[in-house]
Amino acid sequence: MYAMREALAAFRRAPVLTGLSSGMVGLALFVVGLFSLSTYNLQIALSAIEERVEVVVYLRDDARQSEIDHLLGELAAFEEVSQVNYVSKRDALERAQRDLPEFGQLFIESEVNPLPQSLEVELRPGNRTPDVVEQVASSARNYPFVEDALYGEEWVDRLFALRRIGFASTAVLGLAFAMVAALIIGTALRIAIFARRDEIYIMRLVGARNGFIRRPFLLEGALAGLVGAVLAAALTYSTYRMVYAYLFEVAWIPGSWVGIGLLAGALFGACSSAVAIRRHLREV
């Protein structure tokens, strides 16, 4: 009650200082918001690509049906595998004629079907990693009637590298700008605390507990952080609307991310004010 009243009074006492610091915090967190927005969309894009990750096992023409069925069962038994499809030579030819019309004539004119039969191994979401595909592919290669098992090693590796880079850069930059926000709040509070150091000193002399003195400042820091975070969310949202309207289709970040961002803003604000006031509660 008292703490809330004091924290609000602080905004009234120094509207410029608190307004400026909240604005700066808002801008710093805006950067975090933009990174979240782009990472989230990058994740979506990568997921779409990832869905196409599959292992194709090419079979020799002389493979017997019983052998193929056995291998199919073997591959389907993998925990990470969701489905295995058999593609016959005919199927392959039809598909080639459909997908590659410019070669269609060539295929038709040819007496023999040059395309191999194959097994297409689909993986469960979350298991389309380089390790898993390699494991599936190499177990298929053990069979003598298997010509080869391919999955596009290179781009699967790249896909995952890209994903890791996206995550790491957002984490690092997000953290850095969150720190910037915390520093701004800390500095503004340091000024506010310094301006009221006599009052704090007197409070201690007349019997205030440390927690009682600290509480309004913690609240003030939390409020500054929260206001900044709300501002950042608003800026990020309007950027999202603008990109969506004028540039290209993007997805808005999930509500839980926004919620975490707001909470983190308030928490960072409170923590940095706790650090700022510590020294003043130690004297006398």
Binding site: D198, E199, I202, M203, V206, G207, N210, R282
Partner: protein
Amino acid sequence: MIELTHVSKEYPKRGYALHDVSFHIKKGEFAFLTGHSGSGKSTTMRLIHMAERPTRGEVRVAAFSSERVTERDLWKVRRRVGMVFQDFRLLPGRTAVENVGFALEVTGTPQKAIQSRANRLLTQVGLASKAGARVEELSGGERQRVAIARALVNDPYILLADEPTGNLDDRATRGIMDLFWDLNARGMVVLMATHDLELTRRHPHARFFELDQGKLVYDSATADPVAS
């Protein structure tokens, strides 16, 4: 209640403000602490209020010892020991009643009780008519009485008053002294620093200490009555 054992306070570069001072003020006592300017009266008061720690020796106040009390427990000392500061330490920009109420507010007193108690204390120090005046609008003597009211508002059982009548005229001084004696009769220990020997002579029943250059040179409880 208040016990100093071989207490010294040394300030860096300034030397000793107090040197090997020992005394024991018991329950129910009223004591004057006298001495020339710079003799260490305020320093003694600050040590008892635990705003500072002794360089050597131990200060004990009620159940608290300067050797053991931690920073976070100081509020407990402060709520039992009211202090009138020589320089008042009032909050500028706030009214008399707000300043007195501040001491209640920080101790978590309900908002409703604050106003009435603060006003009652201001009446007791004869300042009822100035309750709504801001500190800047008050005279030295009026500010001093606000400081006294604030020191008493939490019903402390020890009162440390550093020159509480320094800015008051005779009539106001008598009023404050009557109030202190009255509270003392109801069990409050009073330790009052003053260099006004005239004043101390008017209260011969009080205990009497004299400091000189940081040393305790006289204690009426232990001194030979003839020598004094």
